[in-house]
């Protein structure tokens, strides 16, 4: 997930990124490969082709508004995105993301992050560290509770159910 420095490259997008931008309706009948190829094409046409495993998305408020389609989170997992950092997320998207193993960091200062910079983070502690000497060097985010971290580590709820066999 991370490079040799343990840091992540930042992609910046704006506010109100909706599920149609993440998983366009026209491709919903196809599998996740095809949906992921069109992920964010409306706002960052080069994103799906150029994003690398371990990269992170930093967004404005209200990330993930719209549909319940979890492909809007699964597409980012499929592309190897390590986390999405935003001041706020749509609640349904928030649940979906962790259920498919995508880490979300709620960070009031997310929009201070700039395109291309590198960061490290400690989700359980609620900290983001900027690697390039940017100011502020450290940012606080909401600590991710242990049961959601379990979900991210397992790679989503399906894997967690498989491990626990509690059904």
């Amino acid at each position: 997930m991370t490079d040799h420095n343990g840091t992540h490259r930042v992609w910046r997008v704006g506010a109100d990124i909706d599920t149609d931008a993440l998983a366009p309706g026209a491709y919903m009948k196809f599998g996740i490969d095809e949906i992921a190829r069109h992920c964010l094409q409306r706002v960052r046409p080069e994103f799906a082709g150029q994003v690398r495993p371990g990269d992170v998305l930093a967004a404005g408020p209200n990330f993930g508004i719209g549909s319940s389609r979890e492909q809007a989170a699964a597409a980012l997992v499929h592309l190897g995105v390590a986390a999405v950092i935003a001041p706020s997320f749509n609640g349904l998207y928030f649940r979906n993301a962790f259920n498919v193993g995508l880490l979300l960091l709620t960070c009031a200062q997310a929009e201070a992050l700039v395109e291309g910079e590198r960061i490290a983070f400690d989700p359980a502690a609620g900290r983001i560290r900027r690697a390039d000497g940017a100011d502020p060097a450290d940012m606080l985010c909401e600590a991710v509770p242990p049961f959601l971290m379990d979900m991210v580590r397992a790679g989503g709820l399906l894997n967690l159910l498989k491990q626990r066999q509690t059904f």
Binding site: D16, D18, D20, A21, P24, G25, A26, M28, K29, F30, R42, P61, N62, I65, G66, S67, S68, R69, E70, A73, S88, N90, G91, L92, F94, R95, N96, N99, V100, P145, F147, G156, L157, L158, L161, K162, T166, F167
Partner: protein
């Protein structure tokens, strides 16, 4: 005496086997009903169930509605619908509604959602069920898998945002206008994934289907649920839907002294609302978009093509014709609503005005239909106008009530329906 509780708290407490719950607590609830459709349901659940080697926790508590990829238009949609039908047969699901309308309308029409229940739906507009005094919210397919095999789900007990509407709506002003107004004021995350409860005399005066429109668009307000305390209107609707059991109406209401965040609105002064591209939060009085030319009008979706919506549109279109070059599409939200609208002459008035009637399904609202032409300015009764949502990246979609959409279809430009209601 237990501490004062909101309706949301009472519903969650009942579902997790407690007498009361506190805001912010994370609790595990037993699910009374899980609803999903052909897009979010079998095609996604079946492979995961197989991978897990698990069985459904209770097929009797599951309702499948095939509404997204019908009528099948290509090989992919045929494949998705076939998976849904085969799976339902294989699992011997007792509750399947195939090509008879949109889940959020069909499921209540068959009496599946009742006051006091705790329900989940595999669709973002699942808060519609809150209109019946049930705690119902949308989840994705993987989380639905968890429910399907365990019958349980976690929730964080929300704060309640009380949306109190005083007064009475004017003729030609609807629940859709109320919602667009609230979304315009608070934005698409104004609900902060808390519980919204709609109350006040203007809400009490609404019919059941109008209440469903309020709860439905709680999704666009960003709340987890959109609740309305059940009353005689609820009970009458459910009796009609074949619900024989006694409803405990007095139990399912917020205590007067329960802690909540209050927001007040005046129904008397509310004007018809229009939300400009590309967000429901761009809602303003329709006057402010007056004379914006439109070429396509769409009356469809769970939000805007129920029987009451069709009646509203027909009351404007009756005896009138569409403007030159205007295309009006009507996709009724359920077969039952369409039949009733036929009997009442409503469908005839719509057709005589020049409307093209499309199959009852999610259709163009979900962008699965492909019926919205590129570059068109569209006025629509649906819930969302994100760029590309209705299938065309270049379409400009305005959202409004069925009255306003019908009036605009006659005028060829965005119009205030009250001018057509002398």
């Amino acid at each position: 005496m237990t501490r004062p509780q909101t309706l949301a708290q009472k519903l969650i407490a009942a579902a997790c086997g407690r007498s009361a719950v506190d805001e912010g607590e994370i609790v595990t609830c037993a699910v009374d009903l899980a609803m999903f459709h052909d897009s979010s349901g079998p095609r996604r659940l079946q492979p995961m169930l197989e991978e897990l080697g698990a069985k459904l926790w209770d097929p009797a508590r599951i309702v499948l509605v095939i509404d997204h990829y019908v009528p099948e238009s290509d090989d992919e949609s045929r494949r998705i619908v076939r998976i849904a039908r085969d799976w339902a047969a294989g699992q011997r699901l007792p509750n399947v509604y195939d090509s008879v309308g949109i889940c959020h309308v069909v499921v209540p029409q068959h009496g599946h959602i009742r006051p006091g229940m705790f329900c989940v739906g595999g669709d973002s507009h699942s808060p519609t069920g809150g209109a019946f005094g049930a705690y119902m919210f949308g989840i994705g397919s993987t989380e639905m898998l968890g429910v399907a095999v365990t019958g349980q789900i976690w929730v964080k007990v929300p704060k309640t945002l009380m949306m109190r509407w005083r007064g009475r709506l004017a003729a030609g002003v609807t629940a859709k206008d109320m919602m667009l107004h609230m979304i315009g004021r608070y934005g698409m995350n104004g609900g902060r994934y808390q519980a919204v409860e709609f109350c006040g005399e203007a809400v009490r005066a609404l019919s059941m289907q109008e209440r469903m429109t309020l709860s439905n668009m709680s999704a666009e307000l960003g709340s987890q649920v959109g609740l309305i305390a059940p009353d005689e209107t609820t009970a009458a609707y459910l009796r009609e839907a074949g619900v024989a059991q006694e409803l405990n109406l007095d139990r399912w209401r917020s205590d007067a002294d329960a802690d909540a965040e209050w927001h007040d609105f005046d129904a008397d002064s509310l004007a018809p609302q229009v939300a400009a591209p590309h967000s429901p939060a761009n809602a303003r009085d329709a006057d402010q978009y007056r004379d914006v030319p439109v070429q396509v009008a769409y009356i469809g979706a769970c939000t805007g093509a129920k029987l009451e919506d069709l009646r509203a549109a027909a009351s404007v279109l009756r005896g009138r014709r569409l403007a030159d070059g205007m295309r009006l599409m009507v996709a009724p939200a359920s077969s039952q609503d369409q039949r009733q609208a036929e009997q009442e002459g409503v469908m005839q008035w719509l057709r005589e005005a020049g409307a093209q009637v499309l199959p009852t399904s999610c259709g163009a609202c979900a962008g699965y239909g492909g019926s919205i032409p590129d570059g068109a300015s569209v006025i629509s009764t649906t819930a969302r106008n994100f760029k590309g949502r209705m299938g065309s990246e270049t379409a400009q979609v305005y959202l409004a009530s069925p009255y306003t959409v019908a009036a605009s279809a006659v005028a060829g430009r965005i119009a205030d329906p009250r001018e057509f209601m002398a």
